[in-house]
Each structure stands twice: as structure tokens, then as C-alpha cells.
């Protein structure tokens, strides 16, 4: 039976908790309420208050206690309710989790998984819409993933829980219940995906789109539109992993298509796309037949609540389509 993105998360958590009693959850409203979006629904009832912990209102506590517990041999899955509120955990994530293995010469590690709900386009306004993936993709020592499909939502979460490094798992709130991406998934333990490779979601030879998260949907629609309009074929790459980046999949595609368009929901400056562009301009320069275009949000502090301004802010199919036309005509 076909499941939604958020159901994939819930079942992924449930399966790992049944499989391994070292796994526990901690976060705001994850217990009794089952999460503000319902991602942990039913788990409090199945596993009890000791393994599904309603934390105090303190993101720093959520992450640091997961660091300590994972040092002590447990496998915590912590939740940040909104990426916009991750700042109180900034030290725990970037100075503690990211650096513990390194600063201890490999003698101490914290295999925690941090689920972070992010992304805009839902009218959430300035503080319920942010995409701050850059802060963490910039920090070596963190594995940062952003599943864009239902299969990855489950497979990467389970892989993350089993991974011996701190994994930051960015889940886009707009994907949670998106009907068009529902998938049939195999039940059970064996379904674990890899945490280190980008995926080609649509093959093409005339141009490459590199994207992640909800923008994969926009990119696939734009690619299809342009293919119909021009007959060109557009390759669409879903990064899946934001840190460490899978350079090869991107470079191989550009080597084939010679044209690159990056699509990100984050604003332009220093989004993940900047690093992708830098990698390609450095290591695939000779393959390029056109400038590297970026479709991104404008450089403003956050997404305004009022709809007209939110619309203006968000990258959409038309903006990507226009960029692709420009790229192909170049």
C-alpha cells in the first residue's frame, strides 16, 4: 500500500525502535501529541514515555542529551520542531557533535540522528519556513541528508540511525503529505538506503539540474515541461546528501550534458548551490558550454507571511523553466 513521506518517517522510526532497543526519541511534543506534524504518532503508545521523551522547550537540551546518550551507547533520534528554532542547539551540533570524534582522536563518538523539519511555501512566514542547511553542510563531521522521496525518507532515516556518525536529517514539511509522491515501500529491516550518493531522478543529455528537497518536484515538472517544449532532454539530480557532497554524480552528469542549472529553495547567497557551482567550475570547467545558472530565492532575511511576497520569494516551475530555456539557448 502506498505511503506518504511522513508515514515513511513514522514507520522507519517504529521499525528501528523494534529492531534495536537502544533507539529512543526526544524532542518537543514528540510524545503524548505525536509531534506537531504527527511524525511520531503512535510511538509514545507503543514504546512508552522512557523511549519517547517529551523534552523541555530547549533545543540545546534535545541535541546535547542525544550527544551524551549516544556516547553512552544509545541511538537517540532527536527532533527539531522547526529548523527556524535550531539556533539554541547551534553549539551542540557544530561544536560538540560535529567535532567530538575529531577532538577525541576517534576515541569518542556520538551516533545520533537529528530530524529537522524545514522549508517554506506553506504560508508559515518568517519563522516557520527557513532553509538553513548551509550552516550544517559547512561543518565537516556532520553527515547532512535531505531526503526528497518517500523511499529515501524511510531508507535514509533507518540508515542514519545505524550510522556511526551524527546525522542531520532535513525533512521538508511540504513533502509530508504530498499525494503525488506517495510510494509503495517494502516493509521491514532490510530496507536501508545509502547515505553518501546523489541520485539521478531523470536521465537527460542536454542539461543538468542539481537540486534537493521539495525543489526536486519543481525541477522534475520544469524538466518535463521544457522537454515537451523543446525536445531537449534534461537530467535531474537529487543531491540527497548535502554533507559530504557526492561530487562524482554531479561531475559525471555535467560531463555528459555540458550545461548546469542549480535549483535551491534557500536564498541565493551561500546556499548549497554555491558549493555545487564551485565544484563544477573547478573540476568540470572544460565540459561546460554555458554559465552555471542558479534558481534560488532572493537574498532577503526570511519568507514573508503575506502570500504575494511568499510567492515572489519561492522558486517555482516557471522560474526554473525560464532558466532552462536560457541555458539551452546559450
Amino acid at each position: 500500500m502506498s505511503v506518504s513521506y511522513i508515514e515513511a518517517i513514522t514507520t522507519g522510526l517504529a521499525e528501528e525502535m523494534r529492531r534495536d532497543d537502544r533507539v529512543f526519541l526526544i524532542g518537543e511534543d514528540v510524545g503524548v501529541m505525536g509531534g506537531v506534524f504527527g511524525a511520531t504518532k503512535g510511538l509514545f503508545e507503543e514504546f512508552g514515555a522512557e523511549r519517547v521523551i517529551d523534552s523541555p522547550l530547549a533545543e540545546g537540551v534535545i541535541v546535547s542529551s542525544a550527544i551524551g546518550a549516544s556516547m553512552a551507547g544509545l541511538r537517540p533520534v532527536a527532533e527539531i520542531q522547526f529548523a527556524d528554532f535550531i539556533t539554541p542547539a547551534m553549539d551542540a551540533i557544530t561544536q560538540q557533535a560535529a567535532k567530538l570524534r575529531y577532538r577525541s582522536g576517534g576515541s569518542q563518538t556520538c551516533p545520533l540522528t537529528l530530524r529537522v523539519c524545514y522549508g517554506g511555501g506553506t504560508g508559515g512566514g518568517l519563522y516557520h519556513s527557513q532553509t538553513n542547511t548551509t550552516w550544517f553542510a559547512h561543518e565537516p563531521g556532520l553527515i547532512v541528508v535531505a531526503p526528497a522521496t518517500v523511499a529515501d525518507a524511510k531508507g535514509m532515516l533507518k540508515a542514519g540511525i545505524r550510522q556511526d556518525d551524527p546525522v542531520i536529517y532535513f525533512e521538508h514539511k511540504r513533502l509530508y503529505r504530498l499525494p503525488t509522491i506517495k510510494e509503495d515501500l517494502p516493509e521491514g529491516d532490510d530496507f536501508v538506503t545509502d547515505l553518501f550518493h546523489a541520485a539521478v531522478r531523470h536521465e537527460g543529455k542536454d542539461a543538468t539540474i542539481v537540486t534537493y528537497g521539495y525543489m526536486l518536484q519543481i525541477s522534475l515538472q520544469a524538466a518535463q515541461k521544457v522537454e515537451q517544449e523543446t525536445g531537449a532532454s534534461i537530467e535531474v539530480i537529487d543531491l540527497r546528501v548535502l554533507n559530504p557532497l557526492d561530487r562524482d554524480t554531479v561531475l559525471d552528469s555535467v560531463a555528459k550534458t555540458s550545461r548546469l542549472c542549480i535549483v535551491q529553495e534557500d536564498h541565493r547567497t551561500l546556499g548549497i548551490g554555491s558549493e555545487i557551482a564551485a565544484i563544477v567550475a573547478e573540476d568540470a570547467f572544460d565540459c561546460l558550454d554555458a554559465p552555471i545558472l542558479r534558481v534560488a530565492a532572493p537574498d532577503v532575511p526570511a519568507i514573508p507571511a503575506a502570500e504575494p511576497m511568499e510567492q515572489f520569494y519561492m522558486p517555482n516551475v516557471d522560474k526554473v523553466t525560464a532558466a532552462l530555456h536560457k541555458l539551452l539557448q546559450y
Binding site: 523541555p56 522547550l57 528554532f85 539554541p88 508559515g124 512566514g125 537574498d299 503575506a306 502570500e307 504575494p308
Partner: protein, 356 residues
Amino acid sequence: MATKVKEPVAVATASSKNGSSLINDDKLKQLYSTMLKCRLLEEKARILKKQARYKGNYYAAVGQEATAVGVAVDLRPEDAVAPSHRDFIANYIKGVPLSAMFSQLYGRITSPDKGRSSPAHCGYAPLNIITPSSTIAAQLNIGTGIALANKLKKNDNVVVAFSGDGSTSLGFWHEALNFAGVQNLPIIFVCQNNLWAESVSVKLQTKVEDISLKAAGYGFPGITVDGNDVVAVYRVAYEAIQRARNGGGPTLIEAKTYRWYGHSEIDPAKYRSPEEVEVWKTKDPIAGMERYLTQRNLFTPEWKQQLSEAFNKELDEAIEFAEKAPQAEPVECLDYVYSFDVRGRELDRKTRTPKY
């Protein structure tokens, strides 16, 4: 009704004396009428939300009016207020025009934030109300900075910073109170303990029964007051505000109260028992004050009727204003980033030299 003030740590001395002497009949009636208007305002805001007349969400303080009113009713324009998501009514109490407030809910350009912030996240520069972020407790530290400026400027303005029980778990809360204590700043921290932070019970936020206890760690008075007793709140707040104006430093006021509805309009609040809600509804601060005023022959149903009708008219005008007001143009998304224009930078991507 008798004013219930609990003083676990510092003793709010003489609050009964100074306090009540100040509360003449007009003030009592003002406290009541202001609460009533806040109630009408928020119930209206909730209906409009249910009717999807504006986007986003709403965070009602219905049931908690006594706290905001008792604390803020006598503040000066120069006094600053640091509100949270639940303190929309603090704007009204401080004197923000209803047209501006409903423009804020509707995200119109006539809103103080010109449509940027989420509903109920309302500030107002002319009356020194900080435009809130959503980060819980962040307003306490900004408020502390304003209080520091008051101290450095040697004026006698104060800052009232609102927060909830859940906010006390954040380091920001601690940092604000600790610094205010060290610098002996003119700020009043009003913690509205409504027993819940979204779905999380206050028992999971702190081991202590009374949040006011925490003031002991910061070296200034902490006092727990019945947050549904507007007279009690007024007395306690009056004393704290005077102390702050006179260089006596900060006070932490814990107001024990309750939100009647969900965390927001989309929260059915299943995590609470119906009994708990019922018990608290019997403690309705407005009904309680009606009884109190009636005993003193200061209340008549007709007066309430008149108040309500007059204010409902004001509300309807404000709503009509907001609904007629235009939304921002899409491109205005690019405005108010820096003190210089960024539209140019964004639209044609050649850098302009900012005028400065």
C-alpha cells in the same frame, strides 16, 4: 473576591497597602472593561481565522486576560513591551490602534510590519512594543537590552517582558534574568504559567511548583500571583513597576493562569482533560471581576452591554479597514532588508552603491 498573592521567595511587601489604595473605582472598572474588550477582540480574531478570512494561525490568550491587563494597563508610551506569540492583546492594552492590529492579522501593508510577520506576532514602534520573532524567550533578552539603555540614559522608563511557562526551559530565559539581576535593570518579567507549552505539561518543563522560585537564583524578587485575578495582578505589577522606575531593579512575576483553547487555532488540545478545562473556565477572570464589581455596586449588565456593543462596532470598523487595505506588491518582498535599497541589487544583478 479576595486577592490571592503567593510569595514564596521575596516578599512583595506592602502590596496590599500601597497597591489597593491606588485602585479606585474607575481603575477597577477600567481593568474590567479592558479585559472584556481583549476577550471580544480575540474571540473575533478566532472567528475570522475559522472563516479563513486571514492566512496563517492565531494564538489566543482567552482566559489569561487578567495578566496582560493587570500588568500593562498603566504603562506609559515610553515604557517598552516585549511580547511573545500569545500577547497580541498586549498591543491593544498599550494603545495600538485596532486598525493596525487587524491589518497585522490580515498581513496588509497597513500593518506595522507591512505583511511580513505571522498573525499575532505584533509590534508597534511608536509605543515601543518590540515586533516579536517566534523564537521563544528571545524577546526577554532584547527587552533586557532596552532596560540597559534606560539605565544608561538615566530615565525612569521600564520594560515589561512577557513569556510562558515553557520559555523558562530555554537558556535565553536564564541569561535575560541573570543579566537583569547583575545590572539591576528596570524590567519586569511576566511569566504566564498556563500549565502547558503546546502539548507539554509544565511538569516536564521544571521540577519546581512555582516558577517564581527561580528568581532566588538571580537575586531579585519573584512572586506568584493568581493570574486570573486582575486586581491581584495589578497590585503586584504596580509594585514591581514602581520598584523598577525607582532603580530597585527587576521582578519576576509568575501569573498562574490557563488558556481556554488550543495552543493555536489548529490545535484541538486533546492532551488536556476536559475536566481540567472546565475547572479553569469556572475561574474566568472576567466573570470573577464581574462578581467583584457587583459586590461593590460597580457593575450592571447594561454597562457590559453598552461596552460590548460599542467595542464590537470598533472591531467591525477595524476589520473592514483591514479587509479593504491592499496587500503588499510581490516585489516588496525585497524591501526593508538593509538601510539601503536591495531591489536594485536583486532585480538587475549589478551591485549598486548603497546610499549612506
